[in-house]
């Protein structure tokens, strides 16, 4: 059966399994994890504090939370030029081999040329069936240099585009072409410069990058200079979701005794439910007739039996009319 599964499905199944396992273990080891996290965080803080360039902050958000966790600081990875990717392969006992890979984010101010702005590093996972996926994406953003601040301010003043690009193939950059995205620079400044990347990938190929502010960017855009010239980055990796399968129903066919396909008769409705629309008017007519029939003898009796009374009644009414 597994031969009929595509690679994607296998990957999905694997991830599902891993997720389930993780969920199970996560609850058990929550406290431990918290402790560990604290420790690691502390370590990271120390590391960050030790590093000479403190200007950038790296943040990561992974869709595949299978790999969620902290692992080796991104700052340690040497800076790589886009032309020279250095996939460092490393053997492990795992049949699915992993290797680290890096690719460069480049940016441009308005119509200027692209220049490096940061590095994405990820783990390239090669499954034993030959498929490759990128996981554990982390991002280290270079701080804006003084020389870059000036054009950025110009962009803010002119409500112009801040453009970024990534290679479409991380193994042999830039692949067929760069994937580019751009945003009006005025969307970015909040306290710092908030940016949000959504990277759509298919295996190891990057399809598109969507770049912009993490929240809303209301129009008309107001000019606002950031108080802190540091990027606050959020990154999301996205791969394609599977479409829902078309539901297939087996038709329920009731087969009668003589083999005929019989349609179940509709439940018999009550007499009242069927004919209420006739019964109500009929009832009304009957009621009307009865009251009339009741009035008739009464009237006749009254007219014959009380002539004086009738005259007495008439008098005030004529008086009224005369008035």
């Amino acid at each position: 059966m597994s031969t009929f599964h595509s690679r994607r499905q296998q990957t999905a199944a694997r991830e599902e399994k891993a997720n389930a396992f993780l969920r199970r273990t996560r609850d058990e080891a929550m406290e431990k994890l918290n402790l560990l996290r604290l420790l690691l965080l502390g370590l990271a803080v120390v590391l960050v504090g030790l590093r000479p360039s403190t200007a950038f902050q790296s943040d990561e958000l992974l869709v595949e939370d299978e790999e969620f966790g902290l692992e080796g600081s991104a700052a340690d990875i040497p800076y790589a030029r886009p032309s020279a990717p250095t996939p460092i392969r490393r053997r492990s006992s795992d049949p699915d081999s992993d290797s680290k890979i890096q690719f460069t984010l480049e940016h441009a101010f308005g119509d200027s040329d692209f220049s490096p702005a940061g590095t994405f590093s990820a783990r390239l996972k090669t499954w034993n069936h030959g498929g490759q996926t990128l996981t554990k994406l982390r991002f280290s953003r270079n701080a804006l240099t003084e020389a870059e601040k000036e054009p950025f301010q110009k962009l803010l003043q002119g409500d112009d585009f801040y453009r970024i690009r990534l290679p479409s193939d991380v193994l042999s950059p830039p692949g067929r072409d760069y994937i580019a995205s751009s945003v009006k620079a005025r969307c970015l400044p909040r306290d710092g410069l908030d940016e949000h990347f959504v990277i759509h990938m298919e295996g190891v190929k990057l399809l598109a990058v969507n770049y912009g502010a993490p929240g809303a960017c209301p129009y008309p855009r107001q000019l606002k200079l950031p108080s802190k010239w540091a990027f606050n980055s959020h990154t999301v990796l996205k791969s394609s979701e599977q479409a829902q399968r078309t539901p297939i129903f087996t038709e329920e066919i009731t087969v009668g005794e003589n083999g005929e396909v019989g349609v179940a008769p509709p439940p018999e409705r009550s007499f009242w439910a069927k004919y209420w629309m006739y019964l109500i008017p009929l009832g009304l007519i009957v009621m009307n007739a009865i009251t009339q029939a009741m009035n008739m003898p009464e009237e006749q009796a009254g007219a014959q039996g009380q002539p004086g009374g009738g005259a007495a009644q008439r008098a005030p009414s004529s008086a009224v009319r005369r008035r």
Binding site: S182, C187, G212, A216, S240, E241, P247, I248
Partner: protein
């Protein structure tokens, strides 16, 4: 309007109506019309002998085989072959079969001449592609079971014309042998197969016509090399051109061996430049040479000498030779002389005498004569008469006899490229009273008849009269604008470069114009029309002017060819002005701005992604400059699987019209992995679509906000194997990925993979949903999926108090640069049919519920309620959902026979469906085109805002009068009774 009030009552009646509206039999033709066409005629075979009905069998460029009535031009029958089944040759065999050779010579079919039923079909399976030729041996005697010789895919096949049995087959498998001609000698059963081997060698095979054995094989080589086609001049002489196109080569091949002679063309026609073409006459020892814009008739004497007979202008058409009597052959010539057309018939062996010379007045809107087919008949005085079937530049077909046009068919309408609509002029006040009085009696009579019809008192004759009255009710074919917006002009651009204006009421042609700028010229060799846009709709400022349309064309087929623009008056059809050849045109973007004369601003994108602004006026430029920063566009490079987004950078530097040209700046790009994904379909919303409400109330009093953006692009990509024909890939290696991309920022809002599914993808995008159709390989069925996207960022605005106080973000402008929080809902359903076209109904305000209009494989248009394609359908909808109208989930979409918009008709060769909103909210106008055209009016939720046309106003009046009378009578009665009571 009183009718609107009544509509409320009507709504009560109709609220219980089932889904899908249908038609009664007697309503056919009331608001729909259907016109049958065949397309530009390629071949014609007359069939006039020994038969009561005179007919002509034609094959066309739309792959139609049709039998036409020679008296009136009506279609007796026609068969539309598939798009890939191009007809190569037709002939009549045995006097009762039409033989066609199609699909590059691989299919031979015989059709019954009287009724067009297919009699037999034979396939030739050869080893290579080649020229396809058909010889049905019409010159041999009819009574014996004659064989048809067909050549296709490198095989010569003899087929029995009675049952299509293959008698023998000879495969010329040698790859370099290019067969040019096949000749059957009339007397002896010998077939000659002539062709080139390589470029410089000529081969002739003699084949026994009885069994296909090669009797003799000759080869001769010619140093100069051959180019192009060869031409058979007589039974033993062939004419060809050499590779340099400077010499004429005559090859005589019978009488033992081959002999090749050459002669410089300049000796025959004088100095010449440009291409040379040889034209067949199939006439005794004669041919024609087209060079230097002249056609030269040349005869070959028995000893191979070439003589020039006559030179005529090349704007002429020459028919094939027709055997008149006792071995004499005639040829027809049609020449254009000013506004008139000259039809000449000449005898082959006596060139200087004309058998017939007629001058015909021809509408110059038909352009030049492209083809002519002649046929002879015996006049009452027992002399020979000739009639000619003429194909014109605008693809129309005319029959010419006795110096007159007997009938004409506007077959240009079989190849519609694009459609737009225009409003009719407003009705002028002051209708003459006499006209009304004159019609009063008629009107009364009509109403009495209608009343009789309603009360079922009408006799069958009366019913016919009523039906006729309904059909020709002048109301619907008036040339003025109507209150409901049903009457419009459909402006249609055809492949022949002709523009037609059709009235929506009855489909008649109001005007037609062969666009000068779309005709062949020095600057523009092969002009083709592309699209048609509404250019100017006079509104309040420029009410006196006529509306106009913009026709965009291109000089060549390739994308970077120079473009042509033409501005045409929509009421008269006159060309106001034309521009071109100009920059190339890849894309045309109508902007939502108009200048003071109500001309709409258009952006034309050229092959270098530069933007050109039209109209080129200072005012338009100033309007554009204000909005310049908000203008974005995108390009789809399907061959590279890349989509790019652009904005404007600056005005062009090198361009002449610098101010109106702008250079692009790359904003974003999406690069699909080229090895695994190929773009198969991209769809956007219609620009003129109106969305009535953004909110959608769900069953549990919940509110969802539709994500409505005009800048969304639906893209479907498929794995390379899955983008070919169905069956060429197995489910495991085929998948389909669909994307919703914001074209401002390049943001992918939704991305979804369908495993085991494949192209072709047909999609329609409207409001916040997209519906697409594809093939599911695993289920072996077609599927339709729907994606609906909802905006979550507005989802908090549910509090009524907040809405009242104004604390909501509903009125704030949306920006594509905000990160969208969207939720997509999706569902797939099986669908039985494959789809040729798909669109959605459009109404004026967008209130009416929508229907999908699906062009099915059987060339019909099916209306499918959008409610069937609701992602919220579930197996057991709750009571609240049921009340809302959610249909219980089924795995396939129902096809209700009554919901075919085209009812019993077929729009043969269906290619497109266009919907136009009428002014009446409930109604939308539907125009579908292919080889045929069909127009109708649709009301997806019934006509809830007006009364139907056959509503009996008389009955209503009588009822009202009767009621008033009854009120008076009862009032008098009650008064009387009260009085009596008081006196009692």
């Amino acid at each position: 309007m009183a009718a609107r009030i009544l509509a409320v009552f009507l709504l009560l009646f109709l609220s219980a109506a089932p889904l899908g509206s249908s038609l009664y039999e007697d309503q056919v033709g009331l608001m729909d019309w259907h016109q049958k066409y065949i397309g530009k005629v390629k071949h014609a075979v007359f069939h006039t002998q020994r038969s009561g009905r005179k007919r002509v069998v034609v094959s066309t460029e739309e792959n139609v085989i049709a039998s036409l009535d020679l008296r009136h031009g009506d279609i007796f029958w026609r068969r539309v072959l598939g798009a890939n089944d191009v007809v190569d040759a037709i002939d009549v065999a045995l006097g009762k079969f039409v033989i066609t050779l199609s699909s590059d010579g691989s299919t031979i079919r015989a059709w019954n001449l009287p009724d067009g039923l297919m009699v037999w079909e034979t396939f030739i399976r050869g080893s290579k592609s080649s020229k396809s030729l058909l010889l049905s041996g019409t010159n041999s005697k009819v009574d014996k079971d004659n064989t048809i010789l067909a050549f296709g895919e490198g095989c010569l096949v003899a087929v029995s014309s009675a049952d299509g049995e293959v008698l023998w087959k000879k495969d010329f498998a040698d790859a370099s042998f290019e067969v040019q001609q096949i000749i059957q000698s009339p007397g002896r059963d010998v077939v000659y197969v002539l062709g080139f081997v390589g470029s410089s060698s000529f081969d002739a095979y003699q084949i026994n016509g009885k069994n296909g054995e090669v009797m003799h094989h000759d080869t001769a080589s010619f140093a100069g090399g051959f180019s192009g086609n060869t031409l058979l001049v007589s039974d033993d002489v062939l004419v060809a051109l050499d590779a340099a196109m400077s010499h004429l080569i005559t090859i005589s091949f019978q009488g033992g061996g081959l002999s090749i002679n050459e002669k410089p063309i300049s000796n025959l026609v004088g100095d010449f430049a440009g291409p040379v073409e040889i034209l067949a006459l199939k006439l005794g020892r004669m041919f024609a040479l087209k060079a230097n814009k002249l056609i030269t008739f040349i005869s070959i004497s028995n000893d191979g000498k070439l003589d020039v007979l006559e030179k005529i202008n090349s704007a002429a058409a020459i028919s094939d030779a027709l055997s008149v009597s006792d071995g004499r052959h005639a040829v027809g010539l049609v020449q254009q002389v000013d506004n008139k057309v000259e039809f000449t018939v000449k005898l082959g062996n006596d060139w200087n005498t004309n058998l017939l010379k007629e001058t015909i007045n021809m509408d110059h809107q038909r352009g030049f004569v492209r083809k002519v087919f002649i046929n002879n008949y015996i006049r009452t005085d027992r002399s020979h008469g000739f009639r000619a079937l003429v194909v014109m530049e605008d693809h129309s077909l005319l029959l010419v006899q006795q110096g007159e046009i007997v009938w004409g068919r506007e077959d240009g309408l079989a190849s519609i490229l694009d459609v737009t609509t225009s409003e009719l002029p407003v009705e002028k006040d002051g209708v003459s009273v006499s006209k009304v009085e004159q019609n009063l009696f008629e009107w009364l009579k009509g109403h009495i008849l209608k009343l009789k019809g309603t009360l079922m008192l009408a006799s069958p004759e009366d019913m016919v009269v009523i039906q006729g009255m309904r059909l020709k009710s002048s109301e619907k074919s008036k040339m003025t604008r109507d209150h409901n917006g049903f009457r419009k002009l459909l402006i249609v651009l055809t492949r022949g470069g002709k523009l037609f204006a059709l009235h929506t009421g009855d489909g008649r042609i109001i005007w037609s114009r062969l666009l000068e700028s779309l005709r062949k010229s020095e600057a523009c060799e092969h002009p083709t029309g592309l699209r048609i846009y509404t250019w100017q709709v006079p509104h309040h400022h420029a009410m006196d002017e006529n509306p106009s349309v913009l026709v965009v064309g291109r000089c060549q087929q390739n994308l970077d060819a120079p473009g042509i623009l033409s501005f045409v008056d929509a009421y008269t059809g006159s060309e106001i002005k034309s521009v071109g050849p100009v920059h190339s045109v890849l894309q045309v973007i109508p902007l939502p701005f108009t200048d003071s004369t109500e001309q709409r601003l258009h952006l034309l994108i050229d092959a270098k992604q530069r933007v050109h602004l039209y109209p080129r006026s200072r005012e338009a430029l100033s309007i554009f400059q204000q909005e310049r920063s908000n203008i974005y566009w995108y390009s789809v490079e399907a061959d590279k699987s890349i989509i790019r987004g652009y904005a404007i950078k600056r005005t062009c530097v090198h361009e002449d019209a610098g101010d109106y040209c702008f250079e692009p700046r790359d904003l974003w790009s999406v690069v699909f992995p080229g090895k695994s994904e190929k773009i198969v379909s991209t769809v956007t919303q219609k620009l003129n679509e109106v969305v009535h409400t953004q909110a959608k109330v769900m069953a549990e009093q919940e509110l969802m906000y539709k994500y409505i953006s005009k800048n969304l692009l639906f893209v479907a990509t498929a794995s390379p194997k899955a983008s070919h024909e169905i069956g060429s890939a197995i489910p495991d290696e085929s998948f389909l990925v669909v994307y919703l991309i914001d074209t401002i920022t390049g943001r992918i809002l939704q991305r979804m993979t369908h495993q085991g599914c494949q192209a072709p993808v047909h999609a329609v995008f409207s409001e916040n949903w997209v519906v697409y159709h594809y093939f599911n390989l695993r289920a072996h069925r077609y599927e339709m999926s729907v994606i609906e996207i909802y905006d979550q960022s507005r989802a908090d605005n549910k509090d009524v108090l907040k809405l009242v106080v104004g604390k909501h973000n509903l009125t704030s402008p949306t920006s594509s640069y905000s990160r969208p929080e969207v939720v997509a809902k999706s569902q797939s359903y099986f669908f039985t049919h494959s789809v040729k076209a798909i669109t959605v109904t459009l109404t004026a305000k967008g209130i009416t519920s929508k229907q999908l209009l699906i062009g099915t494989i059987s060339d019909q248009v099916l209306a499918l309620d959008k409610r069937y394609l609701d992602p919220r359908r579930s197996l057991n909808p709750s009571q609240a959902e049921k009340e809302e109208g959610v249909i219980p989930l089924t795995d396939s979409l129902p096809i209700i026979p009554q919901s075919y918009v085209t009812h019993a008709l077929k729009v043969e060769g269906l290619r497109g469906i266009v919907t136009v909103p009428a002014k009446l909210e409930s109604t939308t106008l539907v125009f579908s085109y292919g080889v045929d055209i069909f127009f109708t009016r649709l009301a997806p939720s019934r006509t809830y805002d007006s009364l139907t046309e056959d509503f009996s106003y008389a009955l209503l009046l009588i009822t009202i009068v009767a009621l008033i009378a009854a009120i008076f009578v009862t009032w008098v009665w009650s008064e009387r009774k009260e009085l009596q009571e008081k006196w009692r």
